[in-house]
């Protein structure tokens, strides 16, 4: 019953996820580009990986106005000009260097743009001039791309050079309180500067981020309801339709039965996955279209033969004969007498087939045919594959969705297995 516990846990989580992050919000976050995720580092593993490594890797810092670590002072000069100073103060005592630093600057002006000088102050008081620029309406200063600063630091990349103990090898970080000072001068009375400072860490959050700086936890969490719905609907639709068709065929016999058998044989000739791939490529990658086609192709699958054999046996039962004798309609016999008898066989099979469909969705996504809008586990694996995650050592990126897939698949498979033993006690001895 371990399987049941996990299944219940997954269902509860997915309900919570759907309520906490509504569908549209999830899509907006997942489809949103740099605009939403600019505060996150690229391809950063989750923060808990620090527990397993010797060195403590930094998380990201986001410093903006309103934060107590940021002070903004405005000084009036004559003739409308003035001085705007931002001081970003933060503690940095990690063992590793940040992956990147960026200063997001915005300014308001009519004709003459403000000017800013930037200084970096290390814990021991050493002052390093970072840059001096005229501030545009909106502008981003990536420290690692500042070649002048790099030269001033003795040809060390700035995100390292600004933190390093001079001449240390291997490079060491000076721990302590750092300050970035943005000293702006405005030339118009209403002119203003807004500055946000981001230090991108090497780890991020619970799940890490992907190549588009997106937080993977969104897709991992939303993957749960999507996987469950896809698996459940496909399994339910397939087995119920298959069963009904088998029952109708057996009960009516004759050409109906013959036709169903022939269709099953034709369907056997068609290569299932390649047809799905074709539909995905040519027609639509929408999860719901794929779901429909999956059900359509699976109805006349091998399962129909099993059901048929069972119905054949049941058909000869005395109670069916009795029903016929008192003049029950065909539909009544099929739906109220034949089908209910097969339900013990149906339920375990249904539950055990859920993982197949959950993995089918992932399979299609890995082939690049995942739903273009929805965040799913398969999509994450596909993104990771394309970025060469395994080759480049970004294991978390593939492992997280893979482990979730495995847990979900195993839970349903185990549940189906135990249900089979409960419903079909004949098997219990074996």
């Amino acid at each position: 019953m371990f399987g049941l516990a996990i299944v219940i846990l997954l269902i509860i989580t997915s309900i919570v996820v759907i309520i906490a992050i509504p569908y549209n919000e999830a899509i907006r976050l997942w489809r949103g580009g740099e605009g939403i995720w600019y505060q996150n580092p690229k391809t950063a593993p989750p923060a808990w990986t620090n527990w397993f490594t010797k060195e403590d890797k930094p998380s990201s810092y986001f410093l903006a106005e309103g934060d107590e670590r940021v002070t903004k002072t405005v000084e009036e000069f004559t003739e409308g000009s003035g001085d705007i100073t931002y001081v970003f103060t933060f503690e940095y005592d990690y063992d590793a260097f940040p992956s990147e630093m960026a200063l997001y600057l915005e300014s308001d002006y009519e004709t003459k743009n403000p000017f800013a000088d930037m200084y970096w102050i290390q814990p021991d008081g050493t002052e390093i001039r970072v840059a001096s620029i005229g501030v545009d309406k909106s502008q981003t200063l990536y420290f690692s791309q500042d070649s002048k600063l790099q030269r001033r630091l003795g040809d060390v990349s700035p995100e390292v050079g600004l933190f390093i103990v001079p001449d240390s090898d291997p490079p060491q970080v000076i721990p302590g309180t750092y300050q970035l000072i943005v000293d702006g001068i405005r030339f118009e009375p209403d002119s203003d500067i807004n500055a946000e400072f981001v230090i991108y860490g090497q780890v991020h959050g619970l799940a890490g981020t992907d190549h588009l700086r997106r937080d993977l936890s969104i897709a991992l969490l939303w993957g749960i309801p999507i996987a469950l719905i896809f698996g459940l609907v496909a399994a339910l639709g397939t087995s119920i339709l298959t069963m009904t068709i088998a029952a109708i065929g057996v009960w009516n016999g004759g050409w109906v039965d013959e036709l169903i058998q022939r269709i099953t044989e034709i369907n056997m000739v068609l290569p299932f996955l390649s047809i799905l791939v074709m539909i995905g490529t040519f027609y639509s990658k929408s999860l719901w279209v794929i779901l429909g086609v999956t059900i359509l192709l699976s109805i006349f699958g091998g399962g129909i033969k099993t059901y048929r054999a069972n119905f054949m046996q049941i058909k000869e039962s005395m109670y069916i004969e009795a029903a016929e004798a008192y003049g029950a309609k065909n539909s009544r016999i099929i739906f109220l007498y034949l089908i209910p008898r097969i339900i013990p066989l149906l339920i375990p099979g249904l539950v055990s087939s859920i993982p197949t469909y959950v993995f089918l969705e992932a399979t299609l996504a890995v082939l690049g045919l995942g739903d273009p809008v929805l965040p799913t586990w398969g999509k994450i694996i596909n993104d990771a594959q394309q970025a060469g995650a395994l080759y480049n050592g970004m294991y978390y990126w593939i492992l997280e969705p893979a482990v979730l897939l495995m847990i979900t698949g195993l839970a349903f498979a185990m549940l189906g297995f135990s249900l089979d033993r409960i419903f079909n006690p004949r098997l219990r001895g074996l």
Partner: protein, 378 residues
């Protein structure tokens, strides 16, 4: 026509009469079965052609691509640049028409679909629209033949290993049922709900990325070794991971299925009887367990052989294995209908032939099955 009652009378004459009767019945049955099989294959292939074209949707894509391509080539031609606007348009239209004619787009799809069908049925697989074999040929036959080798190598290794290992282990387990290993296999059997590429990713992670002892993918290192002995070794090194992925993903469920199957048969009375007679385990297995299960073993063996043909689309893609599965995937990506249809046709034919042959093999190995003998409903 109740043959059972007749064979019970062990009179030689009756037996001979039944033999002649069987023969004519077999002939009639063969004819009927071939016709139904053929119709099945024809419909199956036609459906594939229809799906591969998506109701003219693919034609539109191809027309668009042709126009773009023609525009690109013309733009680079000096003489074209000097023509007047009308002459340019006329030239463009003509080139587009030529290209459409070459690809057969000027005919309505219905006509073309039947041409595809006829060509397919006669195994005239035609030329690919875009894909080429490594030797540069556009013949679909050559493309398929070229990729068949790697697929058969990979699938053959893994599936044969899987089949024989699982049947062998299942036989042992069915004798020792309830033991620790038996329980372990039952517990592990749900792991087979994950597809092989899934295990492939884990295997790549462990053996290629972390331990760095096996390659990430492909079939041969670059550059390929000159010496044929080293070449074989290199291919062997590349095949380990994809083959194990295919093997691991199915091994537990197949051992479990076979074991349950053998258990059902070994609880029959005649097996108990044989045990009581004091026959050896090996003898009992061979004569009383394997014999009645032979038809099922043969069926699953045959179906496994067909599955070799399609290859494993995703596993081959994940491992960059140059087989048919990956060819099918890239054919779909390039809208190359002849290649898709060609692969499906051969698959359909193989499947049909196998199903057809199985009927006869059944009759050969299982005396209870009589070919064409319709059992009357009780």
């Amino acid at each position: 026509m109740t043959t059972e009652s007749k064979t019970i009378q062990t009179v030689a004459g009756a037996k001979r009469k039944a033999w002649v009767g069987t023969l004519s019945r077999v002939a009639k049955y063969t004819a009927l079965r071939s016709v139904t099989m053929l119709i099945t294959v024809v419909i199956g292939i036609y459906l594939t052609i229809l799906i591969a074209n998506m109701g003219g949707y693919v034609d539109e894509i191809m027309r668009g691509q042709i126009r773009e391509q023609v525009a690109m080539t013309l733009r680079n031609q000096e003489e074209y640049k000097q023509l007047s606007q009308e002459a340019k348009d006329a030239r463009f239209q003509r080139e587009v028409m030529d290209e459409e004619q070459r690809l057969g787009l000027n005919q309505p799809f219905i006509v073309r679909s039947f041409r595809f069908l006829w060509d397919g049925l006669t195994l005239n697989l035609g030329t690919a629209l875009r894909m080429t074999s490594d030797t540069g040929s556009r013949q679909v036959r050559l493309i398929i033949l070229e990729r068949l080798g790697p697929t058969l190598l990979l699938m053959g290794t893994s599936q044969l290993l899987l089949f024989f290992t699982s049947v062998y282990l299942a036989l042992i387990l069915s004798r020792k049922y309830g033991s620790f290993f038996d329980r372990a296999v039952i517990t592990l059997s749900p792991t087979s709900s994950a597809p092989s590429w899934f295990y492939g990713i884990f295997l790549i992670l462990i053996f290629a990325a972390l331990l760095r002892i096996l390659p990430f993918g492909g079939m041969i290192g670059a550059p390929p070794p000159e010496n044929s002995w080293e070449y074989t070794l290199d291919v062997l090194k590349h095949i380990i991971l994809p083959a194990s992925a295919l093997f691991v993903s199915l091994i537990f469920i197949s051992i479990y299925n076979w074991r349950t199957f053998f258990l059902i048969f070994s609880s029959e009375d005649y097996v108990e009887m044989a045990k009581a007679k004091g026959l050896s385990d090996r003898e009992i297995e061979r004569r009383y367990v394997l014999r009645p299960t032979l038809p099922t073993i043969i069926t699953s063996f045959a179906l496994m052989l067909i599955s070799l043909w399609t290859g494993a689309i995703v596993t081959e893609t994940v491992f960059n294995w140059p087989g048919l599965g990956r060819t099918l995937f890239s054919a779909v990506g390039q809208y190359d209908t002849p290649v898709i249809v060609g692969l499906t046709i051969i698959y359909a034919y193989l499947l049909a032939i196998t199903v057809f042959l199985l009927d006869f093999i059944y009759a050969l190995v299982d005396p209870r099955v009589k070919v064409g003998g319709r059992q009357k409903k009780a």
